[in-house]
């Protein structure tokens, strides 16, 4: 009996020990960090989030069909073009049917979430110095400004200082919180103020030298700020920033194996037998243009998803008027082809109707050509003809024969501004830039009287329809699906 008791005692002891052992180690037992998944904590996590490839992409192709530099051909437009493409070209009121969300809004909003998360959380992150945190914070804020600038130019009225305070803009979202349900549209002025605050507050903390084109350095932020000021018609403020950007650019490098920032000389690269392997009159896509991440013209690499209108869709070409803006030696014409996609012999029935067939993405971040063109415009607007011409020349000599590159003399200020704006069309045709210019020019006293129309041509080149842009359609309506989620919100007329 004694042994029995002893044994029972031992068993009891064992039990108690086993149970208490488990209990005591329970805390550490449950505190394991699952592998392959991260909750952002350290400063470097937030730094890595800025390496997120998603930040590069946006739905920037939306503005392509809305630019006035293009025309459409019925045999590709009516039967084959997507309903989105058709509605954008016709400047219809609603682009998307109920229940369908707009990719251009969704991609920007998703990136905005990432930026807000970094902005809100990086100050309390671990293992980072204050300087590191400030730099990451600054970069995220400039990213946010870039996103907000795009959004307000899609869904808010063009910036007009007189009415901006009352014009409905876009909700200012500062939280990364998917449970938020109440959103109100800030005024256009409030949105612009917010954008300016984000950029100006960040520039001092940004690095001059960047390590990859995904990331935003000081020059990129200054260029963006300059562009925002241009869109606010504050040309002197803009020029200061653009000047600073050019100064900083001198020491900005994209680091590593990437070539420094600079314009490509299309006279060397974009010719038959040139370094990019270009061939004339191709019916297919030309893939020789360097990709965005290594493209030296990108100061900060942001791009649309595939721009099918410069790849395999044939409904749009530049108009004859647009074509006439080019001189024959302009190598930028080589981005275009006379042939609809895969038509080995066929051509469009109108002279100068050229289809874009390169590159497949719209570089719509901060780019070298735009820096020169914005500064030239500001200079022209401010009466600094010399700078304006010099900047134009800098760009033009890389685009056409040096004989043709020289900016004509004797232009009036308005003509010079026109010249810069036309240069923008030449540089960015069928890339969606024109739509944003049309918007800002609509509130520019010099150009506000312009009316815009789109022409649709039949198979033999006869005009079949003309669509006229209503002033209210300079602003996109928020998609019906978004409005359905926000019944309190007022949509654009």
């Amino acid at each position: 009996m004694k042994t029995m008791q002893t044994r029972n005692y031992i068993i009891g002891l064992f039990t108690i020990t086993a149970v208490s052992l488990l209990g005591s180690c329970s805390k550490s037992f449950l505190e394991v960090q699952p592998k392959g998944k991260v909750i952002a904590q350290s400063t470097s996590d937030y730094d890595m989030m800025l390496n997120n490839a998603g930040l590069v992409s946006n739905g920037g192709d939306v503005s392509v069909p809305m630019g006035d530099e293009i025309i459409a051909f019925d045999n590709y437009f009516t039967s084959a073009a997507s309903i989105r493409s058709q509605r954008l070209f016709r400047w219809d009121d609603d682009i998307y049917d109920d229940g369908i969300f707009a990719n251009e809004m969704a991609t920007l909003m998703a990136n905005l979430y990432t930026c807000n998360k970094i902005i809100n959380e990086v100050p309390a992150s671990t293992y980072g110095t204050d300087a590191q945190k400030q730099a990451i914070l600054a970069e995220a804020r400039v990213n946010r400004a870039y996103i907000n600038f795009n959004l307000i130019n899609l869904y808010g009225k063009p910036y007009n200082a007189a009415t901006a305070a009352t014009d409905p803009g876009y909700p200012i979202v500062t939280a990364a919180d998917l449970t938020a349900t109440s959103f109100t549209r800030a005024s256009v002025q409030e949105m612009y103020d917010f954008i300016l605050k984000d950029i100006t507050g960040s520039i001092p903390y940004l690095p001059v030298t960047i390590k990859s084109r995904i990331r935003i350095g000081k020059a990129a932020a200054e260029l963006l700020l300059g562009k925002v000021y241009v869109f606010m018609a504050k040309f002197d403020e803009a020029k200061k920033q653009l000047d600073a950007a050019l100064t900083d650019l001198a020491s900005t490098s994209s680091g590593g194996t990437l070539t420094n920032m600079g314009l490509y000389d299309l006279n060397v690269t974009m010719i038959s037998g040139g370094t990019w392997g270009w061939k004339a009159n191709s019916a297919t896509f030309f893939s020789g243009v360097p990709a965005g991440q290594v493209n030296t013209e990108n100061i900060c690499w942001r791009q649309s998803g595939t721009n099918y209108w410069s790849y395999n869709l044939s409904e749009y070409t530049i108009s004859t008027e647009t074509y006439n803006l080019f001189v024959s030696t302009d190598k930028r014409l080589n981005y275009f082809t006379i042939r609809p996609y895969l038509e080995s012999t066929g051509t469009y029935p109108l002279t100068g109707a050229l289809r874009r067939n390169a590159p497949s993405f719209i570089q719509n971040g901060m780019t070298m050509p735009e820096l020169y063109l914005l500064r030239a415009e500001c200079a022209a607007r401010l009466g600094d003809t010399t700078t304006a011409k010099a900047d134009l020349l800098t760009l033009r000599v890389k685009r056409m024969s040096s004989a043709d590159a020289t900016v004509p003399t004797g232009l009036t200020q308005k003509e010079l501004i026109d010249f810069v704006l036309n240069e923008r069309t030449r540089e960015f045709a069928l890339q969606g830039y024109r739509w944003f210019d049309m918007r800002r020019l609509s509130v520019d006293p010099l150009y506000s009287s312009t009316t815009y129309s789109h022409r649709l041509y039949g198979t033999s080149g006869t005009l079949t329809s003309t669509f006229t842009l209503k002033p209210e359609r300079l602003t996109l309506r928020l998609p019906l699906a978004v409005m359905a989620q926000n019944p309190e919100m007022e949509n654009n007329p």
């Binding site: 488990l22 329970s26 394991v32 390496n51 997120n52 490839a53 229940g99 919180d177 449970t179 690499w301």
Partner: protein, 1231 residues
């Protein structure tokens, strides 16, 4: 045999000697065995005799004898009254001869008179008259030294399984004992003498065993019960995985299945599939895209809907690893009691599986069980696609329409997408004609020749074979008093319907039990599973493929069809640029690679029980699972995908005569190796306490314990390129270049360039740990009133979870009342044999688990690291799952009322449960406001109520010696309703709403549709809006214009089975049924109202498309057709179609919803057992042959020919039915 004793005195004598302890010592084990077999067989022979003779006798005696032996009188009384006398021959030695005269004297008076002068006395109990020696006062005093004796024994069934909670009555008297978990019982304090042990157990015949109790009695009495003739198995004990409780003492809702039926379901080696239609409350869905097994409706949407499978006390993820032949017992726990025992993972129901055990004190028993199930080929003709003549004439008709040719111009169709431009032979002919390359006569001639070809037979012959499933299981069981073992070996061969595939499964299962001493017992279960499978290159060919394209020519050579990827001219260009053959031959392709899988899993479970003090014991269960699986998928150098990828990464030579530049290895194939390793362990320590007051007024069971589990799964995938299976070498590639993309290749792999993301090595790991504390109690008063309670707290290493989502205790409480034991029932309603009422209430819940995947939501943003070659450092972090900071615990409150009954001499028995489950904070994908940056995320969607009834009623219709017939109806009725939705911005869009399955005020998985109003004069579908307006405008409808059509989860499901036995034949007929669902039809199949009808729609190798539903030809074609058809017109240009109308108005029109009700004759099973006499000659215990016909007949409510079991209601698409009208033959041998 003991029963025979009363009919045949000579046997009585022999029987009694066998049961004396003295003889046992001299008898060898083999003799014992032989005798046991004899007893068994003789019992089987005579059991019915007893049944018959025991009825219909009078209870008065008419007898007149002179100087007759007592024994003769007994015989006479027996024949007149049907009462048996129970005695020992020795007792009668001292009896005096009898002289008695009686005329219709009541039995009692007769007996009184009979024994008046005898040295014997008697006691009447249960139609048995026990004869006892009259105590002699002097002798008792003298023999006072003999102390009361304890009778010990064990109760088993015919298979040797120990029976828990069997009632053992000591007759005469009312002393009763119950067997414990090991089947043991003991009755202490028995005076020496002759007794009968009467053992009863529901579902078994009452067994009466005579025992002689003497002072030297030490032997263990083994009592073997035989199942009742109707083989009805009822729930008498409940194993919840933690403990075994008598059914009477649990208020929970449990269901057990008749294992005999499960055994006969020779259609699957999956235990759960074998339970189809047998378990009330459990719905098994075979439809594609549906939740496979649902218990009592849905209480969750996005959290795991899987049941929790517990095998021998350990949670098992893969129930397939359990051999159904090894299963002793399956219990489904359905109500809150289940969840509060097993924790948050149990809210969808728990299936507790107990595997077979060895026999104590038994020689080895061997059993073989095997079957072959021939499942046939899939019925591909079920899909209503066109055959060649119809297809070609349709195509001709389409091309004749200039709008079609305008929408799909030759250059448009000949468009490259990633280097592919697929033009089917018929398209090529038609384009040739319309491009002016061939004459009309040539076109017609060419098309006619295509019309004349039909590939259906070739598809059936080349791509399918007869599927079958076979299994052979051999098991042994046996043991001594201190050790016993059950072991089985199983081999399963699954022959799929795809030629070239192999799948073999090997299982070894062993359960050993050790009795160290009276206080400590232990067991060890070792289950080893091995699986080997292999397959050729996958291909999915059905009659969706263009109907004229043959796979083999007249000479049996396989036919190449490179057109599936690109035109011949384009192929020629690519081939010359790359120097790579780009031909594609589907039949040959199958052999250009192989996928092999080897998987091993070992389940080791050990348990120990140590009695500490009185009723207190310690129980430990320790489980360890280790599994590994290795899959190698090899695409050889010849395979199309390797050749095509190589070409896409080849830059053509710029100057003639030089070689192209290859960015991928030119030689060797691609090898993908996937390794999966998993380690799970469970440690459970618990203390259990059982107390039974001496007269059983109070019975108390307490249990408290702690459990820790860890499940770690690690997967790594490596891909080697340029792999040579002979030299086992692979070749390097330049990931940086490939990742950033190669331009100017022969053709781009993506849109504009060829890009290959790094895939050489990938690894993922999940580690989920839980720590739980639990306790439960059962208290029973007067064996009639039971109170249950349980509580549990789970903690886990949830990642990305707010504390609020953890640490919620779950609990349940229940009451049970054994009504039939009440005096007023026993007295007044003797036909009620069993009647119990139960009620439980409890709280359970689902935590938003994150450990296995991210799908159920998180409180914090979860980031993924991924390669970004364009970023400094080559890596970036992106948000993989957006955090929902308001995410909270999904909680379910369940109320359950149940009644169990057995009436009319057990002819009608069953149980019915009514439940109400209220789930709050349902975790589901919720639409998120677009301004947040997130489109949809997991969150707390709302509340859902499930109400239902499930029950099982068995009726024994006929029960005679040679023939019995019983019927079982299993029925489950469940309705649910979403009572609240927490969507801040309700969906107003009709299109969004159509894809929303959850709508406030409606049942889950609600189906919505438009009110279809026919076609207009252009063949465009029209609908009626809520305001009565009829429209076809594409954006006209809003959410409020939709009609509720029903839910695709059937409301009323179950099974209906009939079991018949005639002599040695057993026939069971099982039907399953489902009513109350609404399904959406696959109207015109591919929704081909507008798109181009390519030969293929996917560039992934192995998929063959291009055909159209026959209904397409019934579409609107010309004005006036709107009066005869509802199928919209075909408008080639998608923009023209979408701006004019919405074809969804038809596809989701109310006319295309149908009643999903069906009844299926799931199987007919005929079994024949070889008669005992023959079996004996074979020296076996049992030999049974079985034949099963499965899925024999289908009745369905719809007239579209759709089998609702093979219909994906979400997409509205049908799947190819498999294993219909299959036949299985099997055999079972025991010796």
């Amino acid at each position: 045999m003991h029963l025979i004793a009363f009919c045949n005195r000579t046997v009585v004598a022999r029987t009694l000697t066998f049961n004396t302890g003295r003889r046992r010592k001299s008898s060898s084990r083999f003799l014992n065995q032989a005798l046991r077999i004899m007893r068994l067989t003789s019992l089987m022979l005579f059991v019915f005799v007893v049944n018959v003779s025991a009825t219909g006798t009078a209870q008065s005696v008419t007898l007149s004898v002179n100087n007759t032996s007592l024994e003769k009188v007994f015989d006479a009384v027996k024949s007149q009254t049907g009462y048996y006398f129970f005695y020992n021959q020795k007792q009668l030695k001292e009896a005096k001869p009898v002289t008695i005269k009686a005329d219709h004297v009541p039995l009692e008076s007769f007996l009184e008179q009979l024994f008046k002068d005898q040295p014997l006395t008697y006691l009447v109990q249960n139609q048995t008259i026990f004869i006892r020696t009259k105590p002699k006062a002097t002798v008792i005093a003298a023999e006072n030294a003999a102390p009361p004796i304890t009778i010990r024994g064990v109760v088993r069934n015919q298979n040797g399984d120990l029976l828990y909670a069997a009632s053992v009555y000591l007759r005469p008297g009312s002393v009763v004992a119950q067997t414990d978990k090991s089947g043991f019982f003991s009755i202490p304090g028995v005076e020496p003498g002759n007794y009968v042990l009467e053992v009863s157990y529901v579902g078994y015949e009452i067994q009466k065993t005579p025992v002689t109790v003497g002072p030297d009695m030490k032997q263990l009495i083994t009592i073997m019960l035989q199942p009742s003739a109707d083989k009805l198995e009822e729930v008498t004990v409940v194993n919840n995985g933690y403990q075994t409780l008598s059914r009477d003492r649990s208020a929970g809702s449990f269901t057990k299945s008749n294992m005999e039926t499960v055994k006969n379901h020779n259609t699957s080696m999956n235990l759960i599939q074998r339970l189809d239609g047998l378990v009330p409350g459990m719905v098994i869905n075979n439809a594609p895209g549906s939740t496979n097994v649902i218990v009592r409706g849905l209480s969750t949407i996005n959290a795991s809907k899987d049941l929790l499978y517990v095998v021998d006390g350990i949670i098992v993820n893969n129930i397939d690893d359990v051999n159904p032949n090894d299963v002793q017992d399956v219990t489904l726990l359905k109500d809150a009691t289940a969840a509060s025992i097993w924790g948050s993972r149990a809210s969808n129901g728990v299936v507790v599986v107990v595997t077979k055990k060895g026999l104590r004190n038994s020689p080895l028993k061997v059993e073989y069980n095997g079957f072959v199930n021939i499942q046939g080929k899939p019925d591909i003709e079920y899909l209503p696609y066109m055959r060649s003549p119809e297809f070609i004439s349709t195509m001709k008709e389409l091309y004749a329409d200039s709008n079609y040719r305008k929408a799909f111009t030759w250059p448009g169709v000949n468009t490259l997408i990633s280097g592919n431009a697929s033009i089917a032979p018929h398209e090529s002919i038609l384009y040739n004609y319309y491009r002016g390359l061939i004459s009309e006569a040539t076109m017609n001639a060419q098309l006619d020749s295509l019309s004349g070809i039909d590939n259906l037979q070739q598809i059936k012959d080349q791509w399918y074979r007869t599927a079958s499933l076979s299994n052979h299981t051999i098991s042994v069981r046996g043991g001594s008093g201190i050790y016993n073992i059950y072991g089985s070996l199983a081999y399963t061969n699954t022959v799929s319907s795809t030629p070239g595939e192999k799948n073999r499964n090997y299982k070894m299962n062993m359960r050993q039990e050790f009795v160290f001493n009276k206080n400590i017992t232990a067991y060890l279960v070792t289950n080893l599973v091995g699986n080997e499978s292999s397959a050729g290159r996958p291909a999915s060919v059905t009659n969706r493929f263009v109907p004229y394209q043959l796979f083999k020519d007249a000479n049996g050579n396989s036919i190449s069809m490179p057109w599936i990827y690109r035109t011949d001219s384009l192929r020629a260009v690519y081939e010359s640029k790359s120097g790579i053959n780009l031909n594609y031959n589907p039949i040959d392709e199958m052999n250009y690679g192989k996928t092999k899988n080897n998987a091993y899993r070992a389940y080791i479970t050990a348990g120990i029980t140590a009695k500490i003090w009185k009723g207190l014991r310690f129980e430990g269960v320790y489980g360890y699972v280790k599994g590994s699986s290795k899959t190698t998928a090899f695409e050889s150098e010849q395979s199309y995908s390797v050749r095509n990828q190589l070409a896409a990464f080849t830059v053509p030579a710029t100057t003639a005569g030089t070689l192209p530049t290859y960015f991928l290895p030119q030689r060797g194939g691609q090898l993908t190796v996937t390794n999966l390793n998993q380690y799970n362990w469970t440690v459970r320590n618990q203390l259990a306490y059982d107390y039974i007051s001496p007269n059983e007024t109070h019975q108390l069971t307490l249990l408290a314990g702690q459990e820790a589990t860890d499940a770690l799964a690690n997967t790594n995938i490596s891909v080697a390129r340029g792999y040579d299976p002979q030299s086992l070498t692979s070749q390097p590639v330049d990931w940086d270049t490939l990742g950033k993309g190669v331009t100017n290749t022969v053709f781009p792999s993506s849109i504009t360039k060829s890009t290959l993301s790094y895939d050489a090595y990938k690894e993922t790991e999940t580690d989920s740990r839980t720590l739980s504390y639990y306790g439960n109690a059962a208290y029973t008063f007067l064996r009639k009133y039971t109170l249950n309670g349980s509580v549990r707290k789970d903690q886990s290493n949830l990642f990305g979870k707010d504390k609020s989502a953890q640490n919620k205790p779950i609990w349940s409480a229940g009451l049970a009342w054994q009504l039939h034991k009440e005096f007023f029932i026993e007295e007044n309603l003797p036909w009620i044999k069993y009647l119990a009422l139960r009620a439980t209430y409890g709280l359970s819940g689902n935590q938003p688990l994150l450990t296995t995947d991210l799908s159920s939501g998180t409180s914090y943003d979860i980031l993924n690291t991924y390669v970004n070659l364009n970023a400094y450092g080559g890596q970036g972090l992106g948000i993989a799952t957006f955090g929902n900071r308001k995410l909270s615990w999904e909680a379910t409150k369940t109320t359950n009322f149940g009644v169990d009954f057995s009436v009319l001499n057990s002819k009608l028995s069953g149980s019915v449960d009514v439940y109400l489950r209220r789930t709050t904070n349902l975790i589901a994908k919720i639409p998120v406001n677009a301004f947040t940056g997130v489109s949809a995320a997991n969150g707390n969607l709302g509340n859902i109520n499930n109400t239902g009834i499930d029950g099982k009623i068995t009726s024994i219709n006929i029960k005679t010696k040679n023939f019995s017939w019983s019927t079982t109806l299993v029925a489950s009725y469940n309705v649910n309703k979403i009572t609240k939705l927490y969507i801040a911005n309700p969906t107003t869009s009709a299109i969004t709403m159509l894809s929303t399955n959850f709508i406030e005020g409606y049942s889950a998985f609600a189906q919505l549709g438009y009110k279809f109003m026919g076609l207009d004069s252009l063949g465009d579908p029209m609908i009626q809006l809520a305001d009565g307006k009829i429209t076809k405008a594409p954006s006209a409808a809003t959410a409020s214009d939709l009609k509720y059509m029903g839910t695709y989860q059937p409301k009323f499901t179950g099974g209906f089975s009939n079991n018949l036995r005639y002599r040695n034949f057993q026939l069971s007929i099982n039907m399953v049924y489902a009513f109350g669902s609404t399904l959406r039809r696959d109207a015109v199949g591919l929704n081909a109202y507008t798109t181009n009808l390519y030969g293929r729609t996917s560039n992934s190798p192995g998929y063959f498309f291009g055909n159209m539903y026959r209904d397409f030809n019934n579409r609107w074609k010309k004005s006036g057709d709107e009066n005869i058809t509802n199928i919209p017109s075909y408008v080639p240009a998608s923009s023209a179609s979408t701006s004019r109308r919405s074809t969804g108005y038809y596809a989701y029109g109310d006319i295309n919803f149908f009643d999903g009700a069906y009844v299926k004759l799931r199987d007919i099973n005929l079994a024949y057992s070889i008669p005992t006499s023959l079996i004996k000659q074979l020296r076996a215990d049992d030999l049974t042959f079985r034949v099963t016909l499965s899925n024999v007949l289908l009745w369905k409510a719809n007239h579209y020919g759709i089998d609702p079991e093979f219909h994906d209601s979400g997409s509205g698409l049908r799947a190819v039915p498999t294993a219909q009208h299959s036949i299985a033959v099997g055999a079972n041998l025991r010796f």
